[in-house]
Amino acid sequence: MRAKRKQRLYLVILLVAGLSVAVGLTLMALQQNINLFFTPTQIVDGKAPQGVAFRIGGMVVDDSVKRSDQDLSVQFAITDTAKSVPVLYTGILPDLFREGQGVVALGRLDGKTFVASEVLAKHDENYMAPEAAEAIKQANAQMYKAQEESQ
């Protein structure tokens, strides 16, 4: 490799490395702002903003979904397995919304309740055939039963 080319190679490496460090530091500084949502623990701890709209993300608590008979309003709780926050929403829920499923809701805090204006379902990275999902469910149920019997 000729000296001039070597010099240019070092320049290119320096450019990419320097830029990576700069962008890396910027992103670290912006950490909180890039997160799409607050977790229920953050909200319970009072780290979420008051009086402005923000997003909450977590799993829908099992058996917490209560639909109204009169209108489209629905009540449920979102948890990150440590803390949970009750959510109130009026509107149509996405296909993937169900208990135990991850959701992201946009809205405001009204006292302890989160009043959502939009609810989005979060999809997980698992792809399974329906039979496989059914088999796992049954296996889990059996394991749970066996655990209960042994106690």
Partner: protein, 263 residues
């Protein structure tokens, strides 16, 4: 103990490297390789689509809608792959001033932009019924949109500068700057909480996807890959014939063409 007559491995590499950069030699290679890539791409894409649409089982949660994965995910992977090729070609352009590398970068940009646009559009169409929205400004979607702008910016920049060599160098710098975005796109779903789900296949654990779903996905990916190489080679050939139109090898090629058709 190597004798003085045989070349060392590094010398041989550099000889190959500089030889490969010769437009005339590349043109002969591209002519021979094109039918393999084109037919391979056609066959694999057809096989992948049939496998994905008819043989893979429906997803336990998304039902049939998950099948958009066979267009969306390979397009997203290829958009990153193409960018890596473009940036490496940019580095070679800057360091060795190789015409072939510049032609590869210029030929790859519109392909990469198309892959990115395809992934954005299919993802958005899937997002509406599944997530409940076409678009959300989370880390993954935003950094991926920047990738599209990088491609479009590259295309605009190299074409806006009248002097070809200056344009190529400016484009190469932009392509290298954009490399920073690639790890951000990939790790965005781990570093921040996003609406987009985490990696299914490209993670260190075993892929969390049914094998019957995974096989057509991989076939589609290789199909996309061959398609990229086929179109890229075609575009590079075109580009080189145009920029080298005053050279002897292009003249020879044109003279040879009718003679070969008759035989």
């Amino acid at each position: 103990m190597s004798s003085s007559s045989t070349l060392s491995l590094t010398d041989r590499f550099w000889r190959w490297f500089h030889g490969f950069g010769s437009p005339a030699r590349f043109d002969r290679f591209a002519q021979k390789a094109l039918p393999w890539f084109s037919w391979g791409a056609g066959i694999l894409l057809l096989a992948g689509l049939i496998g994905g649409l008819f043989y893979a089982p429906a997803d336990y949660q998304q039902g049939e809608s998950f099948r958009i994965i066979y267009v969306h995910v390979p397009a997203a992977w290829m958009s990153l792959f193409t960018y890596v090729v473009m940036a490496m070609a940019g580095a070679v352009t800057l360091i060795w001033r190789m015409k072939l590398a510049d032609a590869v970068a210029r030929a790859s940009a519109p392909l990469g932009a198309s892959f990115t646009a395809l992934a954005l559009i299919t993802g958005s169409l899937w997002g509406k019924p599944m997530w409940g929205t076409y678009w959300v400004w989370d880390g993954r979607l935003t950094s991926y949109l920047i990738l599209l702008f990088l491609y479009l910016g590259y295309i605009a920049l190299v074409n806006a500068i009248a002097d070809r060599r200056t344009g190529s160098r400016a484009g190469a710098v932009l392509a290298l700057v954009g490399v920073v975005n690639l790890p951000i796109i990939h790790f965005s779903v781990e570093w921040w909480n996003t609406l987009h789900q985490g990696a299914t296949v490209t993670k260190f654990d075993a892929p969390s996807i049914d094998t019957r779903m995974l096989i057509p996905l991989l076939i589609m990916f290789f199909g996309y890959q061959l398609y990229y190489f086929a179109v890229m080679l075609l575009r590079v050939r075109n580009e080189l014939l145009d920029t080298e139109r005053r050279t002897q090898w292009v003249a020879n090629l044109i003279m040879d063409e009718p003679a070969r058709d008759k035989s």
